[in-house]
Assembly symmetry: C2
Homo-oligomer: 403 residues x 2
Amino acid sequence: MNVEELIERYAALTLKVGVNLGPGQPLAINCYVEHAPLARALAAEAYRMGARFVDVLYSDQVVRRSHIEAAPEDALGWSPPWLIERLEALRQADGALVSLTGSPDPTLLDRVEGSRVARSRMKALTEATLELTSGGCRWCVLACPNPGWARTVFGEPDLERLWQAIATVVRLEEPDPLGAWRAHLGELERRAGLLNGYRFEALRFRGPGTDLEVGLLPESRWRSAVQGADSVPFVANMPTEEVFTAPDARRVSGTVAATYPLLLQGRLVDGLRVRFESGRAVELHADEGEALIRAHVASDEGSCRLGEVALVDSSSRVGRTGLVYYDTLLDENAAAHIAFGRAIAETVPEARSLSIEERRARGVNHSSLHTDFMIGSPEVSVAGLTAGGETVSVIEAGVFVLS
Amino acid sequence: MNVEELIERYAALTLKVGVNLGPGQPLAINCYVEHAPLARALAAEAYRMGARFVDVLYSDQVVRRSHIEAAPEDALGWSPPWLIERLEALRQADGALVSLTGSPDPTLLDRVEGSRVARSRMKALTEATLELTSGGCRWCVLACPNPGWARTVFGEPDLERLWQAIATVVRLEEPDPLGAWRAHLGELERRAGLLNGYRFEALRFRGPGTDLEVGLLPESRWRSAVQGADSVPFVANMPTEEVFTAPDARRVSGTVAATYPLLLQGRLVDGLRVRFESGRAVELHADEGEALIRAHVASDEGSCRLGEVALVDSSSRVGRTGLVYYDTLLDENAAAHIAFGRAIAETVPEARSLSIEERRARGVNHSSLHTDFMIGSPEVSVAGLTAGGETVSVIEAGVFVLS
């Protein structure tokens, strides 16, 4: 299948399985200028499916770098109010949101002061986006190959090869991609069900540089990326290989070493090690991007605590490509991961009606950010600790062994 | 000078002479995805000059075509309210606006029904933009060469050649571009002064297919693109070769034949002929795009009347390149032109405080659009008619002869 056919298929799959677009719905697309070929295919397909309006918001990393380098301090992290208004209009019109990832150049910010990068985050806009996506809006994040990203992954701008990798992990080359997705999501839902059955009190991660215990809440549920099951189901990430839940943000302790680099706000964070005490990240080091990740984690009260723990095993198609993508959507679906920041609302349904303070008091984290980082590898084992004091193997040598 | 140097120079000239950007000002840029190289250079230069925030809004012709082809009728001409909010925020923050022209593909809408193209115009957004640019905001329209546009002009995507043409007409290759612009604008201001001295009652255009009389208002002033002279001067178009004023929208009569094709809402209108009676376009034909221009001119009460008459002679650098650009910014600066729609506020200062109805009653046109089309050529002569019944030559055989 050539790249054009893959783009067509990815667009159709995203709208049908990803956001499950209904006739008359408006669709918003967030992406980079370099993502235009896929954004255009998505728009064309959405209108064919009866969309009312497709609103593509193109961001530009190069323009943004100029801002981060030179904007006055008090304008650095400013969120344009009309971009928040745009999300609010989407919510009111019951629209769907598609976001494309795949950085055209992860080295762009290499020479910019890390703490300035952290302070440049559009906090109000991130928060509005988290509110929207946890408030019933159908959304999907997908990856858009582009020459710059291919250069990052392969050392050369081999766009065709990156498209083939994405085609594999998103099951575009299957004779029946929709059927393959249904089967795949069924398997992830089965895993989530298994984990929910055990009701572990905590998970323990053990591997090189990692000895971490992550407390779980009695009321939290394991979920797959299938969401909105009570209304219209959608899949929030494509690819997706994870099952995830909200940890008890008060009961995380030990050390953890990231197993993948992390591209954070356009800049690389590599060799990250974190020590947690009573839920808080109390020590934090990185070989690259340390100033950025430190400032990021200090953003607000909840940003140094965890809002997600997710399991991925070696059956992951992403992991099996054997590539490092320098892109969280891909890399988090190759390896178990945890996330600083806001707990995903769907995993603690009871918390939705609570105030932020009440959530915090119950260990459900709140923050203006949600930042995943990868901690899994074939050398990292995961065990569940039960209320009765038992230790049950969940992932061993990279394989999901819970049954 | 290579293309990268030309881009740098054009960006600096635009911000210094075009919008005369002040430190701390926000800057909004409207452009197509294909304009990214110039948009990025503008952003970088703006931040170097102390801009507070640079907001680049990328439009996408291909996405827009999908909308025009398939959006439901009641959403066809819808203006996203957050885009109007964006302009309002720019006004409140005393920001500047830069718009880039240069269609990446003027054939994109060839197979779309013309009246649908006309109905797809974002009326509320055009109107908000006209309000902003006539309300004291510093703005500048400039041209951004791109491969698709070069193909339209030369039959091949010779980007380098198009950049060289633009460099010539914008005086980028002058040793001192700012000095060259000051001298050039001085000459245009001199012409405007001459015309203002004569206080013609009307202009008469005569040439092949054209015998048109355009009444002038006693209170209207001839202007060059130098604006905001009472506060901070800026130049609204780069290139600019015209002097223009508002006609008496009640006193336009005769026939006129367009001398250039017109790219209107992304679609070609060619071979346009119009007959005016008592200010109104009462007959209208075109060899190409007739349905579009007919529907466009029927948009609202003022859209079939004129809001501008502008003179350009053969000294124009744009005209001297001998090219048809299929881009109004360029082509209107190669030839005398008139515009359907709203009168330019600066040309009738007294009308600013009047209501729309009062303006109309005095012959100052109001509309939600302002659409120029070119009517000048070396074969078209222009004469001024005085109150005393004299006829004074203004342009003969392409040369501005008024003295």
